[in-house]
């Protein structure tokens, strides 16, 4: 059996080895090291995925849970963990000068921490990995080394650190009430958290992890950071890091707070996120910030989806999250050259027909045009909301539909500019090849998703069935039958 912990350890090792190669003049080694380690981690996770039979837990260091820290390996965790090295590889910042090396080692650090978040089965361990990812992303946010980037990174750091303090308070509250932080152990004690204090603890954790998940009240950093850094970093943060933060919230919601009040809170904040994000995106006049605000709206939809109870909610959530990961990463890659004012994009399609076509494809999928996966993801969320059927859910349904209309407005605004006649023969720049290549790969993935809808549906069903079954989690970790040391 392959050891999944290596998928966390290898990028972490690389993150600290990489700067050394630059000092020793081993640039060729530095160029190879990062991608090689990420590819190895992806292979490891893929091998685990194909050989997967039933969920199991790994007791790190040989200490048995609930005292020891565990990694929990199930299909949900593996899917998100697998997305980490693959996306980081796709968005790998090339180059061999000192600034590039620094950015690469931060990317490796981020990949290691995010993989750890996907697999961790302990609340405090989750918090530590989250902090590690946060520190790496502050560095990435400042990596373009301009004035705006430093201000944006500092504001990001402050909001995120505020969230961390609140999370720590929430963790202390949970420890007061239960005396444990192992997620499986907490799942058995979840009745103790079914009171206002428990709800307060959930709200605190939500605020903390929500900073990265672009949750409604703590997302002011999003447009500034994405506009001030390189677009590959923006894609990494909007596409990947936010999804892993969402996964952390989902794990906590499923295992520790299976109460209606907690779901309602998530639903409320998600709905507000959709509304505020889409309205702000409508106001934005440059492509980068439009995409940034729109990603807040999209993540609102993701959180609304995960707030639905049972299997249907999880399937909808995973679909929307993965769809957003693919589409938003690709759109940010395309915005690398087209990030400026929307009006400057006139005639871009003549300069870069392939880039424009890809942009249209991703934009239509984001909107939810029927044959594309975006339609199915939105359909699952909306039908889930309609079935769940209380007042709040119907309100959320209306808000998401309204959000889609607004989204259509601003995305079509970009598309019409792309295919308009160029003004005074000023043609917007064409794309750099690596970005075009990466977004082309993502487009293939999107089209494959549209074609292979049946097997995907089957896979998602088994994934959701095992992920929503709290008993399996508790039995595997605490029952001792699925533990490897």
């Amino acid at each position: 059996m392959t050891d999944v912990t290596l998928a966390v350890v290898l990028p972490l090792l690389g993150a600290f080895l990489l700067p050394l190669t630059a000092h020793r003049g081993l640039h060729w080694l530095g160029m190879l090291l990062g991608p090689a380690l990420l590819a190895l981690a992806a292979l490891l996770l893929f091998a685990t995925w194909t050989a997967f039979e039933s969920p199991y837990a790994i007791a790190l260091g040989g200490f048995a849970p609930p005292l020891g820290i565990t990694f929990y390996v199930d299909l949900l965790g593996l899917l998100f963990a697998l997305a980490v090295p693959l996306t980081s590889l796709l968005l790998w910042p090339g180059g061999s000068d000192e600034a590039a090396i620094r950015q690469q080692s931060l990317t490796l650090l981020l990949a290691a921490a995010l993989t750890g978040m996907a697999l961790s089965g302990d609340l405090f361990n989750l918090y530590v990995f989250y902090e590690l990812a946060a520190v790496a992303s502050y560095g990435l946010a400042a990596s373009s080394a301009t004035g705006p980037a430093f201000v944006a990174a500092f504001r990001f750091l402050l909001i995120s650190a505020l969230g961390s303090v609140v999370t720590l308070l929430g963790i202390a509250l949970i420890y007061f009430k239960t005396g444990t932080l192992n997620l499986a152990h907490l799942a058995t004690l979840s009745e103790r958290l079914a009171d206002p204090q428990g709800l307060a603890a959930f709200a605190m954790l939500l605020i903390g992890f929500g900073v990265k998940a672009e949750l409604f009240p703590v997302n002011a950093w999003v447009p500034e950071v994405y506009a001030a850094t390189g677009k590959r970093v923006a894609a990494l943060l909007a596409g990947l890091a936010s999804k892993l933060a969402v996964l952390a919230v989902v794990r906590i919601l499923l295992l520790v707070f299976p109460h209606d009040e907690a779901r309602q809170l998530l639903l409320l904040l998600g709905t507000l996120g959709v509304l505020s994000g889409e309205l702000a995106a409508w106001q934005a006049r440059d492509v980068t910030r439009m995409l940034a605000w729109s990603s807040i709206g999209q993540l609102g939809v993701v959180l609304v989806a995960f707030s639905l109870p049972g299997k249907a909610g999880l399937i909808a959530g995973v679909t929307v999250a993965m769809h957003h990961l693919v589409v938003k990463s690709a759109l940010f890659l395309l915005a690398d050259r087209w990030g400026g004012a929307v009006d400057r994009l006139k005639g871009a399609a003549t300069a870069s027909p392939l880039g424009a076509a890809l942009f249209v494809l991703f934009a239509l999928s984001l909107l939810g045009l029927p044959p594309l996966p975006g339609f199915w993801s939105k359909y699952l969320v909306l039908s889930g909301l309609a079935e769940a059927g209380s007042g709040m859910q119907h309100l959320a349904l209306g808000v998401i539909l309204l959000g889609t209309v607004i989204e259509g407005g601003y995305l079509l605004r970009i598309i019409t500019r792309l295919y308009a006649a160029p003004e005074r023969d000023i043609v917007p720049p064409a794309h750099r090849f690596p970005n075009l290549f990466a977004s082309g790969l993502l487009a293939l993935l999107l089209v494959a998703g549209a074609i292979l809808i049946d097997p995907l549906w089957q896979g998602l069903n088994t994934l959701a069935a095992s992920a929503t079954d709290t008993q399996v989690y508790v039995q595997t970790v605490l029952g001792g039958k699925g533990i490897t040391r």
């Binding site: 400042a142 402050l158 650190a161 303090v165 420890y175 004012a341």
Partner: protein, 156 residues
């Protein structure tokens, strides 16, 4: 007597967190924001320590022959140790960013720095910055710039 000390500890822990969080939200001075962060973290850490503290127990150190003694819960202490280390790292990073902001914009006022950032981003994007008519209502007006670029100002 112990309950009184405990009460003071709890009030202190929650009070420190509240003071710190309020300071981070209400201050406009970059350095004060970092200090407020340190205060808030201290409060959160103290609360975690209190979560596992027992007045009738010894320090959680396992000595030969003393293993039956009641001990303070060591798990929160280990977590606080981790949290302190993370906190110090984040504060150092925050201070280094403060230095960079000061070098680029010659200010430690968050409002000024943020306005300059917005202007720079708007200019880079080729968007006319939204002024009074289009800007969001309720934004506090900027204070008049008292100091312009001085020695140790922008390097670029």
């Amino acid at each position: 007597m112990n309950w009184a000390i405990g009460l003071v500890m709890f009030v202190g822990a929650v009070g420190l967190s509240v003071i710190g969080i309020a300071g981070m939200l209400m201050s406009n001075h970059l350095f004060r924001m970092v200090l407020a962060l340190a205060v808030a973290e201290a409060g959160a850490n103290l609360l975690l320590i209190l979560a596992g503290y027992r007045w009738d127990a010894a320090a959680p150190i396992l000595l030969p022959g003393h293993s039956t003694q009641a001990m303070v819960d060591p798990v929160p202490q280990a977590m606080v140790l981790t949290a302190i280390v993370i906190g110090v790292g984040v504060q150092a990073l925050a201070l280094s960013l403060v230095i960079r902001v000061r070098q680029h914009y010659a200010t430690l006022d968050m409002r000024v720095a943020r306005q300059r950032m917005q202007d720079a981003l708007d200019q880079a994007a080729g968007v006319v910055p939204p002024r009074s008519q289009e800007g969001p209502a309720g934004e506090r007006p900027l204070p008049a710039p008292t100091r312009t670029i001085e020695a140790g100002g922008p390097h670029d």
